[in-house]
Symmetry: C2
Subunit: 306 residues, 2 copies
């Protein structure tokens, strides 16, 4: 039996980057400590905040909801609310919406389900049939649009997403490899943009597999299915490389994060925060005159009447 | 028969990043154009320069010597000299020293061969037997030391090395992945440091395989053997990933270079150029009090007398 390096009890996890075996208690302690440190480092949560959790019902956002509730749920100066976007993906989304309902009701967190159908008149499945764009284009634009709009309307001061260390380092590398420094700059934490609820990523310093284990240790309902539309070959290539690289040289994902952080001051200088306009159609924030959601919506409406 | 997209003659190369087939003439034209553009962009070569070429006798430095001679050899306001460091690696180095002699005598370029044995009293092979450091540690420190010293003593204003796009992007990624931002900053072109002859890399915008083809098209003597001490597993992992990534998404090595360039202003700010000290032992430039070459030399001398 492998024993915890902290207390000698039965180990449930071998943490490769630190070389330690950890029991249930010390794994959870370490996981939550790193979440708290990340939150503190970037002042993600401040007194008076109302935090909207982007809760898809996937493992990351379920773990995030649970962890935030455990770590900050007792704080009287904070409020939490969860938002689930139902894109309308048959077979895939309904079970996770159920999970989202279950976890929020169990924790007593106010929960809002907001659907593409109600807001844009059609589901993602219908958009994909009618339109000529890729599913992820519609989904990305409309999901972010509804998350921000709903969070703002609920009076949220922050929007928390479940992006973990693996997600973040993939995106950093991807943008670097594709020379998209503007998108790299968007990953800078605390990037205030008028009209956009400030996004926070409390899981940025924990590995994906640690998130999975955290779910398992608390017996959280998780659904490991992948979105049927998911198709990111370039990201997959980067993900696989980072997986192998991390496997050979544990801890390198932290190094990537540190590299990125070293560049933050200059990314801030290269891409200063700009004030967004109000979309001429819907009033939502956009760097252009008409927001991307309205552009896509109008395209889809035209295609529908053809 | 595949034909050149420029002139219809027989193609010798398919340039994946541009999607063009190129004949001998247009391949050479394109290759040399990109070398000239890189030289211009970073003002690598200026009127009055005396350029020392670091000529190991491997394919990159042979091609570099030839290309610089072809492109700038007629210029009356420039001088060229080649320096070959003979580390003393049995079986590997002697043939390339011969190649270096051959190409410089053919082009009429002054050539200096400088050996570890003459300067440090022993060959690299002997150092490896006596010392406890890795071969690449001795080689890297002593080779750079002798290149800089010799170039400066010859009155050179620039030291040209054969690093190509593959080499540079590997090093960029490696430093990023290992969070070594200081080393990343050292890759910034035109980084003047008192006492160090300014390094230039005219091949930074051409692929390794283009360098090989350039050698072949001019029938240059090349030796494709690899150094017997060469052992860089982390670099090899990065190299293999970039190879596959470039293979799937041609041109991405240029993207990496552009990403790096976008960060240059901030790398300059993060790591301003510092004036180096003169080594207390040998007078050569060093950021410390005693240079790394003297430290290693003293270690080896002690080990020898034991």
């Amino acid at each position: 039996m492998l024993r915890c390096d902290q207390c000698g009890k039965r180990a449930v996890f071998y943490q490769r980057h630190s070389g330690r075996h950890l029991c249930r208690k010390h794994f959870i302690y370490d996981f939550e400590r790193r979440v708290r440190l990340a939150v503190k480092k970037y002042r993600m949560i401040e007194s008076g905040d109302k935090i909207a959790i982007a809760l898809s019902g996937g493992k990351d956002s379920v773990a995030l909801t649970y962890a935030l509730h455990r770590l900050y749920g007792e704080r009287k100066d904070l409020e939490f609310v969860a938002i689930t976007i139902d894109e309308g993906i048959e077979g895939y989304r309904p079970p996770t919406v159920e999970i989202a309902k279950k976890i929020t009701s169990r924790l007593g967190i106010e929960h809002h389900v907001v659907s593409f159908k109600d807001n844009f008149g059609m589901t993602l499945d219908e958009m994909v049939k009618i339109g000529n764009k890729k599913p992820c284009t519609y989904c990305g634009v409309f999901r972010k649009y509804l998350l921000n709009k709903t969070a703002r309307e609920l009076g949220a001061t922050k929007l928390a997403t479940g992006h973990n260390l693996d997600d973040e380092t993939q995106t950093i590398m991807l943008n670097f490899l594709q020379s998209d420094i503007e998108r790299l700059a968007r990953l800078v934490p605390q990037r205030v943009q008028k009209g956009l609820v400030l996004r926070i990523k409390p899981f940025r310093e924990v590995y994906e597999k640690e998130v999975v284990l955290y779910c398992m240790l608390f017996d959280l309902p998780i659904d490991m299915n992948e979105c049927p539309y998911s198709h990111f070959p370039v990201r997959a290539a980067v993900r696989d490389f980072l997986y192998e690289f991390e496997n050979k040289y544990p801890g390198r994902k932290f190094s990537i994060m540190r590299s990125f952080e070293a560049l933050i001051p200059c990314l801030r200088e290269l891409y200063p925060q700009i004030d967004l306009n109000a979309c001429e159609r819907c009033g939502e924030p956009t760097p252009k005159n008409v927001c991307q959601a309205c552009v896509l919506r109008e395209e889809l409406e035209k295609a529908k009447t053809r």
